[in-house]
């Protein structure tokens, strides 16, 4: 009897496997389907959209959000949110710009200042991580507090654009290898690395475990504090990279740089199907979320949709996705 039961299971195995594959990746399939639909519609509606340069442009536009969102994904996997990412990007940009300005646009400082920027990011991430693990308070509140402090510091550094960025630094953003911009390549590389990190390393698995259940993770020998602190450091370093890219793109130290990026990164993460309750989701989903937002923003701009409506639309997307991936407790 038991044997025959097992046998029938074996024969249905391949079928159930493909069903499960579909079901487990439903959110990813959904997001990429939506992207294709949006692209499809835009393709017919607007001929400017079709040009290869515009498509490359979408990729380029998604770099800034992409870097921040990938960091945010890691925090979301642990069950938290990092509300300080935009301010981290800004403080890095402003600090680097200020030092360039003081040094009289000295190009030999480019490498040291890039490293300094990443260090600033890492340090703030470390601070976030320590505060979250020590206080056990909601990470949202902790990082919001840090963001508020950083906002103050940023205003103190400068409330007007800082000029004096050396020319070679400005080329970083525009540099191309053939037709493909360097920064698009960097982003693709980062995505691949983070994908491998989250799926194929111990620390990556630990992110999911910590977000899924702190107690189980601890009892399974996962170092909870280390895992969380690591996630916050990585997230802030990506935010710092964003700040450095933004500085290269705009060419001035911008006191309003990365405005709204904290919220948008959360939208991208949620769209991509990473549970905001932690422990579930994939980086590939976040990439879909970023691409969708970048495409939509591109389409909106081509169709000259008012910025206010864009904002409204963004809010609606968040509410709809959060409702769709509702808390497991309520089901």
């Amino acid at each position: 009897m038991v044997m025959s039961l097992l046998n029938t299971r074996d024969t249905t195995n391949s079928k159930t496997r493909s069903v499960r594959l579909l079901r487990n990746n439903a959110s990813i399939i959904l997001i990429y389907t939506i992207i294709l639909i949006v692209i499809g519609i835009a393709f017919f509606v607007n001929e400017n959209f079709r040009s290869p340069s515009n498509l490359i442009n979408i990729l380029r536009q998604s770099i800034i959000l992409g870097l921040i969102a990938i960091g945010q994904s890691m925090i979301a996997l642990t069950g938290g949110l990092d509300m300080s990412v935009a301010q981290v990007a800004r403080i890095v940009g402003l600090t680097v710009a200020s030092i360039f300005a003081i040094s009289g646009s000295n190009p030999t400082l480019i490498m040291p200042l890039i490293i300094l920027g990443l260090l600033i990011g890492g340090t703030i991430g470390l601070l976030n991580g320590i505060l979250v693990t020590r206080t056990h308070a909601n990470p949202f509140i902790i990082t919001l507090g840090i963001a508020s402090i950083l906002r103050g510091v940023n205003l103190a550094i400068s409330s007007t654009p800082i000029r004096g960025i050396p020319k070679p630094y400005l080329h970083i953003y525009d540099y191309k290898i053939g037709i493909v911009p360097l920064n698009v390549l960097v982003m693709i590389l980062v995505w691949i690395l983070v994908y491998i990190f989250t799926t194929r390393t111990r620390n990556g698995r630990a992110l999911f475990a910590v977000g899924g259940s702190e107690r189980v993770a601890r009892l399974s020998g996962i170092n909870y504090n280390k895992t969380l602190i690591m996630a916050y450091i990585i997230c802030s370093i990506f935010a710092a990279m964003t700040g450095l890219f933004l500085l290269s793109r705009t060419g001035v130290g911008d006191p309003s740089a990365a405005e709204g990026m904290d919220f948008q990164s959360i939208v991208a993460v949620a769209l991509g199907g990473i549970s905001l309750y932690g422990g579930k989701g994939s980086i590939i989903g976040t990439m879909g979320g970023v691409l969708l937002l970048a495409t939509l923003s591109n389409v909106f701009n081509l169709l000259q949709v008012n910025i206010y409506y864009q904002q409204l639309f963004l809010g609606l997307i968040v509410l709809i996705t959060v409702a769709a991936y509702k808390s497991p407790r309520s089901s």
Binding site: R20, L219, G279
Partner: protein, 508 residues
């Protein structure tokens, strides 16, 4: 609606009578032909081991569960689909160990929460609220002890319990269920609780009194019903029975031949616990464990079993004393413990054992990722092989590594928790209630794996509330009572009666 209490001359009338109650949870037969009744003006004790079905019966009486068959009579009327609101309106109230009080509100606010007295302009009448509260406390003889306007969080546990009882009286409860009320009280508050309960009996209430402390039953109760394995063993007048008989009724069962105890080679001492004290829960515990040995931890709920288990993997704040593993102080965190091969298979698999929304494969490999990692990268091939091997070894069903663990049955979930640690090649395994809530077949399989561990020289600590399990599996059993080690019984002297007597502090 009358607010006066039931007159004392109603003694003898059946307030409640349930008969032939059947209740299944999935494949588990939780209650089988259970009958129980309660008269006005009596204290009826309900006793039984953990898992005997007491809570299930209580939940049926309070309307939280609907029985699969059987009859519920309340005040002479039959109720088929009793729900909690209906039960409450019929005057059934329960005081659980965990209070349902809002700590930031006052005593009066808590007591009248369901039925605030409304005065002028539809506002709450604060004066009559305080008055109602005062009268209720007066009935309990606690009016001088508890100020109606005091915040609940400022009261002692004993006082909070009185507030809970007053809350029950506020809905005119005639059937009061008290779930181990003495377990949470310091002994100096016991007398007051007992006199309150006796006073309610005088008023004509029927009280269902659940307790693990056999001696209390003889002090307080009129009748006692013993439940065992979901069946009513007996209902007796307390005057006609004695402590030893009750204990025998609670535990006496044919020992099933499902404990394949094998003689393993008991070796050197690997673990020593010396004078271990953990703030407020565990006091002055001394024991050791040898390789290849199974030492049992017996004791009632709250006796400190779980705390001791957790302390061995660094999860308790040790107040004084020491834990020595292989001659060195034991590690102070689960991750450090796991590195040395000390693992805890925790009591509540859904809270502590599994990341439920993750796959079987994720859960199985979680503590073992090191084994599959080369140059920092996980080899999914190695992982898959190891996971499939353990699935086959433990016969986890369905044998699908990518199934989410929340979709597994309890027994298979437990196998995953056991399996993830078997994969880690442990040296010392602490099992805390390894078979709670799982079916007989899965139980037997888990016992086989425990024996296999000891055969390989692994030391095992087995904490369990099921005496047959301990007796069937262990070399020695340590008995705990209220955080203290009250006895150590060796295999040749094992008997359920003896262990139960130690665990319930019965002297004879």
């Amino acid at each position: 609606m009358s607010t006066s209490s039931v007159s004392p001359n109603s003694t003898g009338i059946y307030l409640l009578s349930v008969s032939n109650i059947e209740k299944y949870f999935g494949g588990i037969h939780a209650l089988s032909k259970v009958s129980f009744d309660l008269k006005a003006g009596e204290i009826h004790a309900l006793v039984g081991e953990n898992g005997a079905g007491k809570s299930t019966l209580i939940k049926i009486i309070t309307g939280a569960y609907t029985p699969d068959s059987g009859e519920i009579h309340i005040n002479g009327n039959i109720y088929r689909n009793l729900d909690p609101i209906q039960a409450r309106n019929l005057g059934i109230a329960a005081v659980y160990q965990e209070f349902n009080l809002l700590p930031e509100l006052s005593v009066a606010e808590n007591i009248t929460l369901g039925a605030q007295p409304i005065g002028k302009y539809k506002l709450i009448d604060q004066k009559s609220r305080s008055l109602i509260t005062y009268q209720l406390l007066e009935r309990l003889g606690a009016e001088s002890l508890i100020d109606p306007d005091e915040l609940v969080k400022n009261l002692t546990v004993g006082e909070q319990q009185l507030v809970e009882i007053a809350k029950a009286l506020a809905i005119n409860a005639r059937i009061l269920i008290m779930d181990e009320p003495s377990a949470i009280l310091p002994s100096r508050d016991l007398d007051r609780l007992f006199s309150v309960i006796r006073h309610l009996r005088e008023e004509g209430c029927g009280i269902i009194y659940i307790s693990h402390r056999i001696n209390e039953i003889f002090e307080l109760a009129d009748r006692v019903t013993v439940l065992k394995d979901g069946q009513t063993m007996a209902t007796k007048n307390v005057a006609d029975t004695n402590q030893v008989e009750l204990v025998n009724l609670m535990v006496g069962r044919p020992l099933m031949d499902m404990y394949p105890k094998k003689e393993s080679l008991v070796g050197e001492v690997i673990l020593e616990v010396n004078n271990l004290c953990i703030e407020g829960t565990v006091f002055d515990i001394n024991f050791n464990l040898k390789s290849g040995e199974i030492v049992g931890l017996a004791g009632l709920g709250g006796s400190g079993r779980t705390t001791i288990c957790r302390s061995l993997v660094g999860l308790a704040n040790i107040h004084s004393g020491e834990i020595i593993y292989q001659g060195e102080p034991a590690p102070r965190s689960p991750s450090a413990a796991a590195k040395l091969g000390i693992v805890l298979i925790p009591e509540d698999r859904k809270t502590y054992g599994l990341v439920l929304n993750q796959t079987m494969r994720f859960n199985l490999s979680l503590p073992n990722l090191n084994q599959f990692t080369k140059l920092g990268i996980l080899s999914s091939l190695k992982e898959k092989e190891a996971v499939q091997m353990i699935i086959k070894k433990l016969q986890i069903k369905p044998p699908t590594p990518n199934i989410s663990t929340e979709n597994l049955s309890g027994g298979n979930q437990q196998k995953v928790v056991v399996g993830k640690w078997l994969m880690a090649n442990p040296k010392l395994v602490i099992f805390d209630e390894p078979t709670r809530g799982i079916d007989v077949g899965a139980k037997a399989e888990i016992y086989v794996h425990i024996n296999e561990l000891t055969k390989q020289g692994v030391g095992v600590i087995l904490a369990s509330s099921e005496l047959p399990e301990l007796i069937g599996m262990c070399d020695r059993i340590l008995v705990l009572y209220e955080g203290r080690l009250v006895g150590e019984v060796h295999r040749e002297n094992f008997s359920e009666e003896k262990i139960m007597q130690l665990a319930t502090a019965v002297n004879n």
